[in-house]
Structures are given as structure tokens and as C-alpha cells.
Amino acid sequence: MGIEAAVLQLRRGDLDALSTLIARYQNRVYRYLLRLVRRPAEAEDLFQQTWIRVAEKIRSYDPARNFDAWLFTLARNLAFDHLRRVQPSSLDEPVDEDSSADTKLSRLAASDPGPHDQLLARERASHLAAALETLPVIYREVLSLRFEEEMKIEEIADVLATPLSTVKSRLRRGLEQIRQTLEANYGEVQ
């Protein structure tokens, strides 16, 4: 079943269609939420709220709009509401590394072939993930949407409800901060 068909069926109250959508998007939505809030328990709670919100708001969804952008906008709004409530400072400033230590390295893995390469790749990935987590949420989210979700710049602007220029500037600053962090903590990027 395609996305459009699933959305139409969900609008008619068909729960099987919702299962199709959850199966299709579960990893992406969960990853995005985890990148935003960083704590698995909070991401799980927001994941559930997101799908409940999808079921509630699906009648107001305009099929002419990109469903991915609509879905990620719902998830983003819930996550930012949550962050405003529980960690208002996280919307502006990078948090200390201890608070996210449990989510950093434990979920990282690499898929390079040899054991040595695998180890190196895992180490690089862990450095990168650690650097990503030190960024303010506004940079984390654009980097996640661009590089992990592979959204176009226009789609990201749609999700964030911001101009393209803002998305580009956040992308640039986010990447620059990651590079600075990597160079400051681990030397030259290589």
C-alpha cells in the first residue's frame, strides 16, 4: 500500500492504514525525535504522541502537501513543546555532555568490512555522534533532517516553517560547530 492510499484509508478510520504508515516511518520518526530530545524515554513518549496526533489530525491533512514534511512538523511541534516545558534552556544553549552520555555511544555501530576498519569507523561515528549531541537543538535538527532523513532544503524549510536562508545558515553553522568540536577534542578531522 502506498503512502497516499494509506493516508486516504486512515482518513476513513482504517487502523490497518495507520499500521502501514507506522511501519514505513517508525525508524525515521523515532530517530528524529531522539536527535531532538536525546533521551530515549522522552523520545518514546513523543513517538506515541506523534502517532496519536497523526490519527487525530489526519482529516485536516492536505493531500497536496508532502506527507513527510507534515508528519515531521507534527513530531517537531510536540518535541519543541516538550523541550520548552522540561528543558527551556536546551532550545538556545548546548547542554553539558553528561546529560546525554547514555545515548551517545551505546547505539552506535559501523558496517565497514575489516575489524580494524570497523573499529576506526565505529570510533569516527562515536566522535561524530558525540559532537552532534553537543550542538544546540536548532542545529541538530537541520543536520538530522538533511543528512539522515535526506530531506531537500525546501522540505526542511517547510518542516521548520522558516525561510530557506535560515535553513542554510543553520546547516552551515551546525557543520562548522561539529568540525570545531571534532578538531578541538580529537585533532584534525580525518
Binding site: G13, L15, L18, S19, I22, Q26, N27, R28, Y30, R31, L34, P40, E44, F47, Q48, W51, I52, V54, A55, E56, R107, L108, A109, A110, S111, R124, A125, L128, A129, L132, L143, R146, F147, E148, E150, I153, V167, K168, L171, R172, L175, E176, I178, R179, L182, E188, V189, Q190
Partner: protein
């Protein structure tokens, strides 16, 4: 533009270049420049390591139990919403029914109690009192039906759980 300025300008845009956020003309210019400038090419390679690393970050997976819980919660919420809509519809129908009974029942009531001709000879002070009592009873019956219906549905839901 001096050669030094050009290098600086190119390097400033490398982050957006690896993010695919530049127009095609600027991308082509950067590609041409880095093809002939090893220093800028080395900088580009570092940015590509970062962007490639971000693309390859492992995807955290939600647990199957989370998915199952989410489906169950959404199903509950949809059922709850459907029940609320149904209750609202039933309430509206009951109100309409009560009004219809109130309005249509009065001539019947008068016919039964006083005969057809008494319809033309209504004594207002008594008639309106009877009408108020009759309406009150009708609305009471409608309200009781709504309460009983709601209680029954709640009981059914409890048994279903």
C-alpha cells in the same frame, strides 16, 4: 578578486556544498576550483568526511513493544473519538425527538383529553401549565434515555477491556 580572496570565498561555502544547499552554478564553480587547487580540495575532503559520517550514523530503532503500545494507544484514541462522535449524534437526535414529541404530542394530548373541538377552545392559563408539565416529562424521558444509554455504553467498554 585576488587568488587569496577566491580561496577564502570557496572555503566559506564548502560546508553548504557538502550539504547540497548551493545552486548549481556555485557548485560547478567550487568543483572547478577544487579540481585545480589541492589545498581547497583537502578542505573539501574534510567536510565530506563529516557529511558522509552524518549520513552513515546508525539509525536507532524503536523497540517492538513501543510500536505495539503506540498502535494500541492510537486504536483506543480512535475508538474514543468515534464514541464521542456517536454520543454527540445520539444526543442531537434525542433533543430533536424530544422537540418533535413536545410539539406534535400536544394536539394529540388535547384530542385525547378534550376531543377535537377543544383544540379550538384552549384556556390559556390551564393549557400552558399542562403544556409545561407535558414538555418537562418529555424532556425528562429523553434525558433519562441519554443517561441510560451512556451508562450502558460505558459498561460495555469496561467489559470489552
Amino acid at each position: 578578486m585576488s587568488a587569496r580572496d577566491e580561496h577564502a570565498e570557496i572555503r566559506e561555502q564548502l560546508a553548504l556544498f557538502v550539504a547540497g544547499a548551493l545552486d548549481t552554478e556555485t557548485e560547478a564553480r567550487i568543483a572547478r576550483h577544487t579540481a585545480s587547487c589541492s589545498a581547497c580540495a583537502a578542505q573539501l575532503e574534510r567536510w565530506q568526511l563529516i557529511s558522509g559520517g552524518l549520513r552513515r550514523l546508525p539509525t536507532p530503532q524503536p523497540s517492538p513493544s513501543l510500536i505495539a503500545r503506540t498502535r494500541a494507544q492510537v486504536a483506543d484514541r480512535i475508538a474514543e473519538r468515534a464514541e464521542q462522535r456517536q454520543n454527540r449524534t445520539v444526543l442531537i437526535l434525542l433533543v430533536c425527538f424530544s422537540w418533535i414529541v413536545t410539539i406534535a404530542g400536544w394536539p394529540v394530548f388535547r384530542f385525547i383529553t378534550g376531543g377535537v373541538f377543544s383544540l379550538l377552545d384552549i384556556r390559556f392559563h390551564q393549557a400552558w401549565l399542562l403544556f409545561a408539565i407535558f414538555s418537562g416529562l418529555t424532556w425528562l424521558a429523553g434525558g433519562s434515555a441519554a443517561v441510560l444509554l451512556s451508562a450502558r455504553r460505558q459498561q460495555e467498554r469496561r467489559f470489552a477491556l
